[in-house]
Symmetry: C2
Subunit: 125 residues, 2 copies
DNA sequence: CAGTATCCTGATTGATACTG
DNA sequence: CAGTATCAATCAGGATACTG
């Protein structure tokens, strides 16, 4: 049987309703840049500038905001080195690594089917 | 080895960059209500009203918008019955069911760790 | 290099009304 | 029942400039 909201709620009533903590976490992960930042860090530590380049198109503001959110969630760790010029590294915590594994199927699925989907949309008109 | 943007790009250069079709699809799926609508339909066919109740908090406008997007993507099918009162059912296509399986790990992970994450955030101040 | 500050647009929401 | 239309309000996100 498929994993659906109904199935999840059979075990955990009220799961992913407005008042459920899961909604907060899901909102962070599915925020505009959430999965891309997690996907970039899934390979290991990256510096601010590297991260900005990996997550193509992200603004500095949104990168900072996304990272602060994940830091507060305990998913990402920030390491600043008191050097000149400054160096700051970001990496997934064990919890973050666990989450990264959970979103991996989504990333691979999307890449495998993107052409098919976008192609159909184009053909519709 | 973890599935990361870097690993995906080793096989598919430019994967999930701004110009990649995958970004379009990923944006649809991780849109504000995307995974919740997919999660609700993962269990089977639902009517408009049922869907609205399952996806707690969604407005009619956003439900309509999300469904139209997924219809155009070929992920959701709409079946209207010419009856009085009208009846309309929504269900996942085979492609949509496949996607639902890919997001299942995310949903279960989020529910399993939400308390832990939200609790830590609260404790930080 | 690694950010913050500021301003501004556009997406999302809410409320309400209306229709086949 | 299953929507669409419209308007106002809010807020996430974008663009640009600046700093330790």
């Amino acid at each position: 049987m498929a994993v659906s909201l109904q199935v999840l709620r059979a075990q955990q009533p009220g799961a992913l309703t407005t008042s459920c903590p899961g909604r907060v976490v899901l909102d962070h992960v599915t925020s505009k840049w959430g999965v891309l930042v997690l996907g970039a860090l899934a390979d290991g530590t990256l510096r601010w500038g590297e991260l900005r380049r990996e997550v193509d198109g992200i603004s500095e503001k949104m990168l900072a905001s996304t990272l602060r959110t994940f830091e507060a969630d305990g998913l990402v760790e920030r390491r600043a080195y008191p050097e000149v010029p400054p160096r700051v590294e970001y990496l997934l915590t064990p919890l973050g690594e666990d989450l990264a594994e959970a979103i991996a199927p989504l990333l691979t699925w999307v890449l495998a089917h993107a052409e098919e989907i976008v192609g159909r949309r184009a053909a519709q008109r």
